[in-house]
Point group: D3
């Protein structure tokens, strides 16, 4: 769509993308930017948690699940950001860990199985942003 | 996406956008047109109600909530169009009136809080158009 | 089910029922109590708003729509309680005003058209109580 | 719950149950009546279609899928009632035909796999009755 | 969006489009490709069923309902693919057969009524792909 | 409702309830049995995991979150059962840990905040049992 990102420099909607594969990084980045988002890349879960802990710059998380042997997996990044903000939109990407989502994903998250079309990333992020308090705890 | 609008001149899907801020007008217009919709602007709620009352030209409403002191708010525009057509798709945009949605919005509407990414507008409109009778009254 | 109401005297879940017809009052009361709720009756919208404004005794609202000529309708009671608590569960009952719900009901409310089976009331209330922040405003 | 059926003799909510096994007939009947519904039994799909075609006495259908060799299956009963009323609530019960539901069930229906608890039948029927126009065609 | 299709030649997400009108063929094709999908056209239901039966090349189906007098309708194509894969995403397009969807569509499918905006096709396909096992039979 | 449990001794639907407070044990047990379920109590998370690992006797889990200092919390029981069966229905009960659900609950689970009415437990369990593959991983 090649939309302008947000409608003012200081009003952009910033999505944090956690991915260590440069090709998928660029695909997801391009898709989000065409959808009018600003995307920031973190190449490890540890870096992502640092960025998410530091202020409220981000409005959503798109994270690979498998971020390398002995490294923090995407499941843990999703859990950490939900401890900071229970309503935070979380999208996971995975090649072969889909079966783990039902046990390790957070409530009201979306799992994209690779390969996926770029518009699936934009649809997942917009769906979570447009839904009232998707991740908020109930009855409270 | 720069898609053709509808697939014939007389087949376009026309969305009414009610917004008095020229910058947001142009952002929303551009986003909808890139998504293949035709968008028509009304700059006041009163003008919007006139347009909506006059025939069945429109398939959806995207309205700012705060349309100026002493002017008809977007909440009222949403209510009026639902009196005409109970299933009409309604999307609200607001900067600081989000807390009012639960009391003044219509059922099965979507609220976008500013700032938002342009693709969120397209996603909101398509979600309501693709859902069976989202606003229709139940049990009837 | 004839379940104990809540599991301690001071732990009951209290639902406010607004209805001026004694027969429907007793049907709804009985259904809610069999479902383990405590039900309190208000026979007018004005009385209901007084009760709802005064503290946080109630966890849900079941209101008739038509509460008498020149009296506050159920639509207004629903709106008032959502101004106090945006996530408050709201269920409407109506004989012939179903068409108005799409314009006058609050978001994420449920409309029961008379006649209905008693278990439909319990199902409507439990569905709203069990859903995360059903009435909360999105994006906030 | 042993609720009164509807709240007047002429106001009961009647559900058509299509089942040829007497034991399951009585289980489903008892569950629906305890939930405040009136239940009418048809022991074949052909009889069910006759009853459904003749007037608007029924508000929902609960049908076994396998109704005997060379007899009309529950899938066909569901399709027939949706031709009469596109929003009609449809619940299927099956022992071993669950895999067929995705191909032969109607949209917005519910499938109960035997064995099921009696309250699952009541929950399925009330969920469909309480949802706006669950079976209605979209975009119209 | 003019996104790259998938992120490698052998990783594209292929959608089967069944449509006999060349103009709508090209609109839908263009919309899907702009959304990053690969689209393959079949001009009859019979051809579509042959393609779907032969391997697991496709990830979704977008089918016209009315494919010509005495020809297999889109309803039948949807049913056939769900017999092969109960979770397969199915989107129907129709001009005047919307009323039939509630009786002849498969569960968890989406119906687009012509005319529609191109982004509605992409939104329908991504929604079904992003939803867990939308068409799978329950309780199993 | 005092419904018969299942419709044969060997056909009952068994729900595992994990709770260390005898009063809440008896409330939940009674509610599930009135709804036609069979309920089995485990008083610790460790005991629950042993029972769930040993065969496929159970169809759903209702677990307290806080099961004692230094003991396995309900969050961990939910995660373990989803590793065994990704579609297993999971309901949590909590007094003061609701805020943790968005980070530690499993996808498509339901959280009940104490105090709750007994019918809320039955509604939560039946909703998850009646929904197609609620906990299954998507795209697979």
């Amino acid at each position: 769509m090649h939309l302008r990102r947000g409608y003012a420099l200081d009003n952009s909607i910033v999505i944090l993308v956690v991915e260590d594969d440069p090709m998928i990084q660029s695909i997801v980045l391009e898709a989000l930017e065409e959808g009018g988002f600003e995307a920031v890349i973190a190449s490890s879960g540890e870096e992502a948690v640092d960025l998410l802990t530091d202020g409220d710059r981000f409005r959503g998380l798109v994270t690979d699940v498998n971020l390398g042997r002995d490294r923090m997996p995407g499941w843990e990044v999703g859990r950490r950001v939900r401890e900071i903000d229970p309503a935070f939109p979380v999208v996971y990407m995975t090649g072969d860990s889909a079966a783990e989502w039902a046990a390790r994903g957070v409530p009201n998250s979306i799992l994209l199985t690779k390969p996926f079309a770029p518009s699936q990333v934009v649809a997942a992020v917009t769906q979570l942003l447009n839904t009232p308090n998707a991740g908020a705890s109930p009855n409270t």
